[in-house]
Amino acid sequence: MDSLWQYIVQRVAATIPMLLILIVVVFLILRVIPGDPARAMLGGRNVSAEYIAEVRKEMGLDDPLHQQFIEYIWGLVRGDFGTSFRTDQPVLHELLIRIPATLELAFYGMAIALLLGVSTGAWAAVRSDTYIDHGLRLFHIGAFAVPLFWMGLMFQIIFAVYLGWLPVGNRLEALSMATFDPITRFYTLDALIKGDLGLFVEAIKHLILPALTLGIIQAGLLGRMTRANMLEILDEDYVKTARSKGLKERAVIYKHALRNALIPILTVFGLQFAILIGGAVLTETIYAWPGVARFLITSVNARDFPSIQGAIVMIAIFITTINLIVDIVYAQLDPRVKY
């Protein structure tokens, strides 16, 4: 067990420089490339040069770059992400109230992706080179060839506007939203904690379209991987052994092949999560989903630099954490990984 802890500490230590590099890159993009954040923030407003100078000073933009960076990092360490230009609220607060929305969406999106991707990928491999395989492969390629935002719009127009089966957007109906007192801010979880089944159904209904939009794109990628892994494994000796000792085909496929085909998929889980968060930018915009990704877009449009930076740092923390967890779980599952 000691060595596992050692491995975890080692992985955490390796994560920190990665996070730091992302913070540096974003910091540099926002400080060095644009002309003047103060002027950008004030937009086209007609203000005097003195006023801009004052704002610059207030924002600390006149300090040397390394000093600004050290101050920013020191702030992050203390949990101070700065103050939003737009709302005058601490950026961390703005982020914290939105994180559960994004994570909840990501969770359901990933669940759909796994279900759809793994099942179709495995099926295609088992029926390799038949029409089923060709059809499923086309679905896999097609799933990530369709622009996510376009698919989202199409779903919205078909299922929400024309058929009226599901809501157009947001996390709950306006009325429920106004009276709802969140506990964890994961609305499906909150509804269950409160034992409010109606609210749970309402939250799920609002989740279906955004999660499906996010999930289908991922399903294409996961399906391709599952198929490729399965094809390789179905050719392995231990699968042949399992067959020749008279095991039922179902047992061979599910117990022997699919299980082992899924382990390599875990390694790309972190990457999948990153793609999911990227997709959330579009999904949250289309479905008016009040999450971190939508907050980022609104902040970019308002040139709200502290919020942009904060949102990106937060997303970077998410992703490095997920990667860390994946590494550790993988080491546990695959006995070949030594730690």
Binding site: I33, V146, P147, F149, A274
Partner: protein, 290 residues
């Protein structure tokens, strides 16, 4: 000369297998049609894509306007045809740029190793793990909008891919005996990298790049859709979808449908090319029978 060597091998392979590889053949056909559309757009479009004069407002598809018209009385067919230019230019431009930068950095890092390699690898890993579209949005937002900005922003996203592919190929190839032989014969580093290692890396890169072009087209469309693309009235599918979205609820379906389908078929085309090339490079993937 070097480039001749690099590509001739792959192209002869392509020609031979095009008959067998239907996926690749279909994909290539689609891509070529789109490139022709882009080049010939001024002669194909029946109306000026940005000019609004005689056409009716928000007219459904008809013989005169096969894809209908938009709220500014512009012919949608003309806009959709001219709209191919931006995504295709951005996709090819950005992939070329990232391929160049990523490959060179990967060759250098893989060949020389050491601190430089470690620093580059760490940076690339960090960028690679980050959602690409978010990186592109921030870059486009802080720079002036335009084709160059889009190419630059999207190319940054794919540099890590080429870096990683190249670096790992270099690390494998470096250990081969023929490199040792060339080194023993006194060849310089630059010569070894470009003359002996780079050609071996090309195969790996070709398969990756067609998937990346498909992805770059989607990223460009997404940026344009979110309003970070080219300034209007330049025709661009993503932007036209954003424009048409407002009228979707009122039943004007054509504004969103046609530009969307154009994106779907183009990125599908590149996706099929990528699948086809992967099948050729890795025949096991396809031929394996249960």
């Amino acid at each position: 000369m070097i480039f001749g060597n690099l590509f001739s091998g792959l192209f002869s392979k392509l020609r031979k297998t095009l008959g067998r590889e239907k996926l690749l053949a279909v994909g290539l056909t689609v891509v070529i049609i789109y490139i022709l559309i882009t080049v010939l757009a001024p002669w194909i479009t029946p109306y000026d894509p940005v000019d609004y004069r005689s056409a009716p407002r928000l007219a459904p598809p008809s013989l005169q306007h096969p894809m209908g018209t938009d709220q500014l009385r512009r012919d949608l067919f003309s806009r959709v045809i001219s709209g191919a230019r931006a995504p295709i230019t951005v996709a090819f431009g950005s992939i070329a740029l990232s391929m160049g930068a990523g490959t060179i950095l990967g060759l250098v890092a893989g060949f020389f190793g050491g601190v430089l390699d470690r620093l580059l690898s760490l940076t690339m890993d960090a960028l690679y793990s980050f959602p690409s579209i978010i990186l592109a949005i921030v870059l486009v937002a802080v720079l002036q909008p335009g084709i160059d900005t889009m190419i630059l922003a999207i190319s940054v996203v794919y540099i890590p891919t080429y870096f990683r592919v190249t670096r790992s190929e270099v690390l494998t190839i470096r250990e081969e005996t023929f490199i040792e032989a060339v080194e023993a014969m006194g060849a310089g580093n630059i010569r070894i990298i470009f003359k002996h290692i780079a050609p071996n890396v090309v195969n790996a890169i070709m398969a990756v790049s067609s998937f990346n072009i498909a992805d770059a087209i989607l990223t460009e469309a997404a940026l344009a859709y979110l309003g970070f693309g080219l300034p209007p009235p330049t025709p661009d599918w993503g932007f036209d979808i954003q424009n048409g979205q407002k009228f979707l609820q009122a039943g004007y379906w054509w504004l969103v449908t046609f530009p969307g389908l154009m994106i779907v078929f183009l990125s599908l085309g590149f996706g099929m090319v990528g699948e086809g090339i992967s099948d050729i490079l890795n025949p096991k993937r396809k031929q394996q029978k249960v």
